[in-house]
């Protein structure tokens, strides 16, 4: 450990204990900041450094280089932590840099400010627990120096114990032993908390267009005929709204609360052949594919 690094780490009191010195700390070198990643975070959190002035791509490049340099000593925990924090910073920076979608009135600014503060709060909260975990480790290490007395019962008291009730027979004992002999299941990384877009709204838009071009007009019930799950019906509904917005369909309703008829309205033939462009950038498409136009 070089002297410079030790000093840098010392500037952030909680960090060295948190990682117990197991891992080589990740040091960032930017135009306006040089030091441990944690310190950078701390400064952003304390508003001594503007997140919009931090080149996150450079930080990421450096972290990748840092991981490569570690080679076999690669620490999954450190990488995960970096991902979480970098993603939050990215969110934060995006929120700071992007202009409001509709207007620049005060309520919009306020909402943005709240979103920003929420991200801050999340970041700070996580860091607080991380520092608390370092305190926990310290307390446990301290407590480990006291060994509790836990010794077999003196024979005279053991002899006085009432006869033990085992409570199970040989068969149940065998079942227990067999259960314990089974290899424990390998740890699984649960993914159910990750939101998977199982339904593509764009796909449903295409399905509706194909149906309407065949039928000319149809009610919502007909348009949803093939749907198996509620989420698909929702997707069909969203697709209808989107198609209406694009001016490709019209809605007819004879009486209030009556049947809604969806009609395909004529568009220029060029757009017809360009079905694939429908709904681009909506909900489920890769935005990088075709950047969304700023609504102006």
């Amino acid at each position: 450990m070089t002297r410079a690094r030790a000093d840098a780490a010392g500037a952030e009191p909680a960090t060295p204990t948190a990682r117990g010195g197991r891992t080589e700390p990740f040091v960032v070198e930017l135009a306006n900041f040089t030091g441990p990643f944690d310190l950078l975070l701390s400064l952003i959190a304390k508003h001594r450094l503007d997140v919009t002035e931090v080149a996150l791509s450079q930080v990421t490049d450096e972290f990748v280089a840092h991981i490569r340099r570690l080679g076999d000593r690669f620490d999954l925990g450190q990488a995960t932590e970096f991902l979480v924090i970098a993603a939050t910073l990215l969110d934060l920076k995006a929120a700071r840099l992007l202009p409001g979608a509709l207007s620049d009135d005060e309520s919009e600014d306020l909402a943005l400010l709240e979103a920003r503060d929420l991200l801050f709060a999340r970041l700070l909260q996580y860091r607080a627990y991380k520092e608390a975990s370092a305190l926990f480790a310290g307390l446990m290490a301290l407590e480990a120096r006291h060994v509790p007395r836990a010794v077999p019962l003196e024979p005279r008291y053991a002899a006085a114990l009432p006869e033990v009730q085992i409570g199970i027979g040989p068969t149940e004992l065998a079942a227990l032993a067999a259960k314990l002999r089974e290899p424990p299941l390998p740890p699984l990384v649960a993914t159910d908390h990750v939101h998977l877009p199982r339904i593509s709204v764009r796909e449903h838009m295409l399905a509706i267009i194909l149906l309407l071009r065949e039928l000319g007009a149809a009610d919502f019930r007909t348009l949803c005929a093939g749907c198996q799950q509620t989420i698909e019906v929702v997707a069909r509904f969203l697709a209808l709204l989107e198609l209406f917005r694009e001016g490709r369909i019209s809605f007819d309703q004879e009486i209030p609360l009556g049947e809604l008829t969806v009609r395909w309205i004529a568009v220029d033939p060029a757009a017809d052949g360009d079905l694939l462009s429908i709904g681009r950038g909506l909900y489920d498409e890769d935005p990088a594919d075709e950047p969304r136009e700023a609504a102006s």
Binding site: G20, K46, A128, S133, A137, L139, E143, P187
Partner: protein, 201 residues
């Protein structure tokens, strides 16, 4: 002289005394705690020894202080749910050589962080823990439960999600008497005095 101040106590509190020659309460406390396998609370001692809880509450710290004063190799400590004999911490390096079993493995960073979230937010669901740490807590919660540091303490009345809390064993491992002795979280959040900067940039 000061060793026998309780000679008279035995006679008056002889609720469940099997004999007339009841030893001083301090000696009985020492004896009972000598065979205890876990911290024993004052109430349990009072019931078991047929002695007033207030008396026991007075004697235990007195005994504990006496051991420290006499420079004994053992300590009587109030940890977790009660009192228990421990080795003195200055003897730790020498004791380690004799005690091979029971050495608990160190917790991973992820486990420590999750433990911290559970300790401060209990009762807390897996979902909330995952939200704080940004990753699923399932595996770590299983580890912490197997190590008896964390346990299920109920269900969320609305969502039905299992709620987790820390155990008495957790307090023992941390050397704390109760959750109120946890280090306060507020100072760990970067200074509240900086909040002004955030609110009014």
């Amino acid at each position: 002289m000061s060793e026998q101040p309780d000679a008279g106590v035995g006679g008056e509190a002889a609720v469940a005394s099997p004999g007339a020659d009841r030893p001083p309460l301090a000696a009985l406390l020492e004896a009972v705690l000598m065979v205890a396998e876990r911290p024993v609370g004052v109430a349990e001692l009072a019931t078991g020894l047929g002695a007033p809880a207030r008396e026991i509450e007075r004697l235990l710290p007195e005994l504990a202080e006496g051991y420290v004063r006499d420079g004994r190799g053992f300590r009587l400590r109030h940890v977790g749910a009660g009192w228990r004999f421990y080795t003195a911490d200055e003897c730790a390096p020498w004791v380690e050589g004799f005690v091979l079993a029971g050495q608990s493995a160190r917790l991973s960073q992820a486990a420590l962080e999750t433990l911290a979230v559970v300790a401060y937010q209990q009762p807390v669901s897996r979902g909330r823990i995952a939200a704080v740490r940004g990753v699923s807590a399932d595996g770590v919660i299983r580890t912490l439960t197997a190590r008896r540091l964390v346990e299920e303490i109920g269900h969320d009345p609305e969502t039905g999600a299992i709620l987790y809390g820390t155990t008495d064993y957790f307090l023992e491992r941390m050397g704390l008497r109760g959750l109120d002795e946890l280090p306060p979280l507020a100072p760990l959040l970067p200074g509240l005095d900086d909040l002004d900067d955030i609110v009014a940039p």
